[in-house]
């Protein structure tokens, strides 16, 4: 069952964000800050893909492409045309949204495998374009000289300043995402992902909602792209190819499709794992492959699902006997915010 979103969820997110804001002072060096920034960007990518996969049941293997379109549009505007990244950002979001709409409209009439294949095909085309539109993108060697964000004349290119920018941007995005899920729109999405015909007969314009969530999730990926481009000052096509898209899908599954906190865990794995494996040298790939298989075997519902089970067990232990109400009913106050 999709975990209920309640006031508690918002509060938990708020507390987490306050804790994260303290990272620059807790972290022993900038390496951790950079890791934090990377985690935030990955969180945005995985949470938005989770919205698509977990809450509306669509498989997309094009998420890497949208990440790339956001990065390249904002990056090219900044590097080649001297446009301020603050303007590049909304332009990139809108451009990605338009592309997602154009791709989504015919594609989202397809189901299951066909949708996966079409999105894979689209990602492949995007990869070719990233490489071949050399005059803009810089070709296979990538785009360089991407300017950083500036605020009141100050460049936000230090690890610390960018960390705060990412923290705020991703924080806002996640709140918007939560809002969307806990609303009439979110409910319609969840309905169409579990019983499409039923949803349709209840008045949900299924096709329109599928496109909506596809576009929204693509725009979040584009936001991640912008953050990445202007922090890294360099982007290249391999960061956005179908392997990346596939890995993102794997991370959503590992975190637990449709579990809100699953995305946080998935992003953690995606960020930390390469760092941990690096120290193993040649064995890196082998350990990764075997670990992946093991996790998939032992956590069929992903980490988020395991977490849910754990919480349910704890709640079950805490309740005072058979007459007690399930915890979810208690968490809801006057019934207005569950």
């Amino acid at each position: 069952m999709h975990a209920q979103i309640s006031a508690t969820t918002y509060r938990a997110l708020g507390i987490l964000w306050v804790l994260l804001a303290a990272l620059p002072w807790i972290a022993p060096n900038n390496y951790w800050l950079n890791l934090g920034t990377l985690w935030l960007t990955n969180l945005l990518l995985i949470a938005s893909l989770n919205l698509l996969m977990g809450y509306s049941g669509q498989i997309s293997l094009a998420h890497g492409a949208f990440y790339g379109i956001g990065a390249y549009v904002s990056g090219v505007l900044g590097a080649k045309y001297g446009v301020s990244p603050w303007i590049g950002l909304p332009v990139a979001l809108v451009a990605t949204g338009v592309v997602a709409f154009a791709v989504g409209w015919p594609t989202l009439r397809l189901r299951g495998h066909y949708l996966a294949m079409a999105t894979l095909g689209f990602n492949a085309i995007a990869s070719v374009l990233f490489v071949e539109l050399r005059d803009w993108t810089g070709g296979p060697n990538g785009l360089v000289n991407i300017p950083p964000y500036t605020l009141f004349g100050v460049k936000l290119d230090s690890d610390r300043s960018f960390y705060f920018l990412a923290l705020i941007a991703v924080g806002i995005a996640l709140v918007l995402l939560l809002n969307l899920l806990d609303s009439r729109t979110g409910r319609a999405l969840r309905a169409l992902s579990t019983a499409e015909v039923g949803a349709q007969c209840m008045g949900v314009d299924v096709h329109r909602y599928k496109i909506l969530v596809f576009v929204v999730s693509a725009m979040f990926a584009a936001l991640a792209g912008c953050l990445y481009a202007h922090h890294n000052a360099f982007v290249s096509p391999e960061s956005f190819d179908f392997m990346v898209s596939t890995m993102l899908v794997v991370m959503v599954a590992l975190g637990g499709t449709g579990h809100w906190w699953g995305a946080f865990l998935g992003a953690l794995i995606y960020t930390v794992l390469p760092e941990v494996l690096r120290s193993f040298g040649d064995l890196e790939l082998l350990i990764f492959g075997v670990s992946l298989i093991l996790v998939l075997l032992f956590f069929p519902r992903g980490m988020g699902g395991a977490l849910d089970l754990l919480c349910a067990k704890i709640a079950g232990l805490r309740s005072r006997g058979p007459g007690a109400k399930p915890p979810s009913a208690d968490a809801r106050g006057a019934g207005a915010d569950s």
């Binding site: 594609t107 070719v128 899908v249 794997v250 040649d282 790939l285 990764f288 075997v290 298989i293």
Partner: protein
């Protein structure tokens, strides 16, 4: 239009298309029995070629020994992979199996890298390297082996599914797991055999293309991707679709590279795929899926 140029392009397209078709075959066999997409297929192709090349390098054994040995080893690898990773799945949904094959693919790639090294390797051509001239175009003899073995393998797999009891049992299990189980078919076993066949045919494909292209531990990914694209074009799950899709992809790439642009040839293939998906989602030869309300 220069006829010999067209012929040359067609040859090139058919040869690469045959390779894609062989890889696509493996995808379709696994898809038919599990509804899942087997990400390991490309790695098995690579592993077959690498193993054969390595044995040849170390022991200089003749082809007649190399081929069955390498194919057998990789088929065994497929079997072991399935037993260790797919069989224990508590809920073998297509998505779960697909994800696990990603893990197997990475593991396989890593194993090959660790045991056989990172250097590219090759095999000598099966029957010499003298090009044959046909109608103004030239053809390498290895190409004939590729096309010949493709057709033989397709025929073999077809006969297996149509004429043997095990093959028919696998088809039944693919069509309806529960009904097949009820008539006494060990469904989990049929899944295992599918992986064995996919690994074996993949390895065979890898061996016969290695003389024409160097192979290395990283070569599997792209090949798998192309093979999957071919499978999509032809219709997932259809053996004839693998053949049609593979040849179509090969020819599209060949002609697009010549007449449109060699840079955009990959994009052309995918544009065709997208168009096909929008107008004929089941692919060229696949069957449309019907939902009962």
């Amino acid at each position: 239009m220069d006829a010999s140029l067209l012929l040359q392009l067609a040859f090139g397209g058919i040869v690469s298309g045959s390779i894609y078709a062989l890889v696509a075959l493996g995808f379709n066999v696994v898809f038919k029995s599990t509804d899942a997409i087997n990400f390991t297929q490309g790695e098995w192709v690579m592993a077959g070629g690498m193993l054969a090349a390595w044995i040849h390098q170390q022991f200089a054994w003749p082809l007649v020994m190399l081929v069955p040995l390498a194919v057998g080893c990789i088929a065994l690898l497929g079997l072991v992979s399935e037993r260790l990773s797919i069989y224990p799945l508590s809920r073998p949904t297509p998505m779960a199996i697909t994800l696990v094959t990603i893990g197997i693919a990475i593991t396989t790639k890593a194993l090959v890298m660790l045991t056989l090294g990172k250097q590219p390797m090759s095999l000598p051509s099966f029957s010499g390297a003298e090009s044959i001239a046909i109608g103004g175009a030239s053809l390498q003899p290895q190409a004939l082996w590729i096309v010949g073995l493709l057709l033989a393998t397709m025929l073999g797999v077809h006969l297996f599914f149509e004429r043997t009891l095990l093959g028919k049992a696998m088809k039944a299990a693919a069509a309806d797991r529960d009904a097949a189980a009820l008539v006494g078919i060990n469904v989990a076993r049929t899944v295992m055999w599918c992986f064995v066949i996919a690994a074996g045919t993949g390895a065979l494909a890898g061996i016969i293309i290695t003389p024409m292209t160097l192979t290395s531990f990283a070569a599997g990914t792209v090949l798998g991707f192309k093979g999957f694209s071919a499978a999509m074009l032809g219709g997932l799950g259809s053996l004839r679709g693998a053949l049609a899709g593979g040849l179509l992809l090969g020819l599209l790439e060949s002609f697009a590279a010549a007449f449109i642009s060699s840079k955009y040839k990959d994009a052309v293939a995918f544009v065709v795929l997208l168009l096909l998906l929008f107008f004929r989602p089941s692919g060229l030869l696949g069957r449309a899926q019907i939902q009962k309300i």
